[in-house]
């Protein structure tokens, strides 16, 4: 059985408008799937629906089974056990994901205490180990979120997501707000962590080159509909759907000149 099985997922607004329509995909243990689409394609809503975190007024229909638990229609209390343990999310803007009034070390300790029931010395050691794992200095533990850089904050957010030892990591545009060089570092880090832990990855982005770099398969979303899915290679070299073709061609076009100058 796959870790995440999404079938015919539809997200509706209160006024009945469909923002995501009949999207289906599966993520098996250790799989890496990319969701790609332009603004308004419903890619982020799909991720939120999978976690049972849709904003108020929106409803999910269809089915999304995460690690054996049906998320669509489930009560919030039931999902608490699934979130974190089965899947954890890293969002685009790390500053809003961290509590501004709490030192980084404390924030990081919270999920460790909850999920791994650590206390005292072992907890401190686990916090330091978690920081080391995302290549952050121990001193970061004593800093407040606004005192560290955007890249460091995103590393902290990743460390917090990993602290629950999830089987699936959902990353929603995790590097879009970062500088290119920092983006490259964070992507390399994420790539290594997912591989070394055998985690599954659901990576959401508008940037085809980024998605292609960290995932194996891609689902292309357009206005809430999955128009095409396939291996990275097929999507990038043999796109079948007209929309995928235009997306891929645009990416190649932009990159073409740079590839010619600096192969």
């Amino acid at each position: 059985m796959s870790l995440l099985d999404v079938k015919d997922l539809t997200v509706r607004r209160a006024d009945g408008r469909e923002l995501v329509t009949g999207v289906s995909f599966t993520v098996g243990t250790g799989d890496r799937l990319g969701l790609i689409g332009e603004s308004g394609s419903g890619k982020s809503l799909t991720a939120l629906a999978v976690m049972g975190l849709l904003p108020a007024g929106m409803t999910a229909h269809g089915s999304a089974v995460l690690d054996g638990t049906e998320i669509v229609g489930a009560r919030d209390g039931k999902l608490d056990g699934v979130r974190g343990r089965a899947a954890a999310v890293v969002f685009q803007e790390p500053l809003t994901a961290l509590d501004p009034l709490m030192r980084v070390g404390h924030q990081l300790a919270e999920p460790l205490r909850r999920h791994q029931r650590l206390r005292g010395g072992p907890l401190r050691a686990a916090v330091m180990a978690a920081l080391a794992e995302v290549r952050l200095d121990e001193r970061v533990a004593r800093a407040y979120p606004h005192e560290i850089s955007g890249g460091q904050r995103q590393r902290v957010a990743i460390a917090m997501a990993l602290a629950c030892r999830p089987k699936l990591l959902i990353a929603d545009e995790p590097t879009t707000a970062l500088d290119v060089t920092v983006q490259a570092e964070v992507l390399t880090l994420l790539d290594g962590l997912v591989a070394s832990r055998g985690m599954a990855l659901l990576f959401i982005s508008h940037d085809l080159a980024v998605v292609a770099g960290v995932t194996d398969r891609i689902v292309v979303l357009k206005e809430g509909v999955a128009v095409e899915s396939g291996s990275v290679r097929d999507i990038v070299y043999e796109p079948r759907h007209a929309y995928t073709r235009s997306l891929v061609n645009s990416a190649w076009e932009l990159e073409g000149e740079l590839d010619r100058m600096a192969p």
Partner: protein, 294 residues
């Protein structure tokens, strides 16, 4: 894609020599043919570390210059200085060899901003937005003239003439950026200063706006200065590139030379960081960057 118009190799080599001269001229401090120039410019807020130190860049008519760097490099500050919105703490900004002020300067140096949502007044019709420079600079002979010139500018950016009667919110992000470009070119400026003009746009829209900017620069003999962190856009649009790191220009010259054979380690790092399809889904289909799975 080749909107910058760089053709066969020999033409490019000629370019390269030419813009080497332009860059050298800028660095040497002689005005040369530069229309807009920063000469040994420094900028610091009171009691704070300098944002810019000894920056010299120049752009000549019909050419395009990219200011490349990451957040905190001072790109946007440099752009504000070039726009005459702030004065440098040291050094000079020169427009046509003179002071960057007055009506001629305002008319000839026009900006395009990153965010197509905040750059258009939501309560004005597009026609009024686009004609603002004409009205503010009193460049109009008659009332009808405004309508004609707005229509001409809208046509130049590929929007229908009836767009003038509509409001900004009726347009998509890419179309709004075209409206902002129409406003910038309506008074036929010599220099267009664009701050990350396409980074808020979707990829397919991005390509078209880059093409538009390149074409406008070419057909109108406008100099284009573009601030960007995206090297793919820079390679597609700009002939010359200046790389900024922490307020200093670490490398500059023809884009072909700067990106093709980067001399400074920071340029190389920037270049290596660009996510690329050609690497991600390389010919073999296997990613080299991926560590072995256990």
């Amino acid at each position: 894609m080749n909107p910058a118009g760089a053709g066969p190799d020999d033409a490019e080599n000629a370019d390269r020599a030419e813009s080497h001269d332009a860059a050298n001229a800028a660095r040497a401090g002689s005005g040369g043919s530069a229309v807009l120039e920063a000469r040994d410019v420094g900028f610091a807020y009171r009691k704070a570390a300098p944002v810019l130190t000894g920056v010299s860049v120049a752009v000549s008519p019909g050419r395009s210059l990219a200011l490349v760097g990451e957040s905190g490099a001072g790109k946007t500050t440099l752009l504000r200085l070039l726009l005459g919105l702030a004065r440098p703490s040291s050094g000079r900004i020169l427009f046509d060899g003179g002071e960057p002020s007055g009506r001629e300067f305002r008319r000839n140096v026009q900006p395009v901003f990153q965010d197509p949502y905040s750059s258009l007044d939501p309560r004005q019709r597009v026609g009024r937005i686009v004609s603002e420079p004409l009205r503010s600079l009193r460049l109009l002979g008659s009332r009808d003239e405004a309508g004609d010139r707005v229509a001409e500018a809208l046509r130049a950016v590929g929007l229908p003439a009836d767009a003038a009667r509509r409001y900004p919110h009726e347009f998509s992000g890419g179309q709004r950026q075209r409206i902002a470009i129409a406003r910038a070119i309506v008074c036929e400026p010599k220099v267009l200063l664009a701050d990350e003009p396409v980074s808020a746009l979707d990829v397919s829209t991005r390509v078209r706006v880059v093409e538009l900017l390149a074409e406008l620069g070419e057909s109108r003999g406008m100099a284009v200065v573009m601030v960007s962190h995206d090297l793919t856009v820079v390679a597609a649009l700009c002939r010359d590139t200046a790389v900024l790191e922490r307020g200093r220009v670490v490398e500059q010259g023809p884009t072909l030379a700067v990106l093709g054979s980067p001399a400074h380690p920071y340029t190389r790092k920037l270049l290596d960081s660009v996510p690329r399809l050609s690497r991600a889904a390389g010919a073999g289909g296997e990613r080299a960057s991926r560590p072995e799975r256990p």
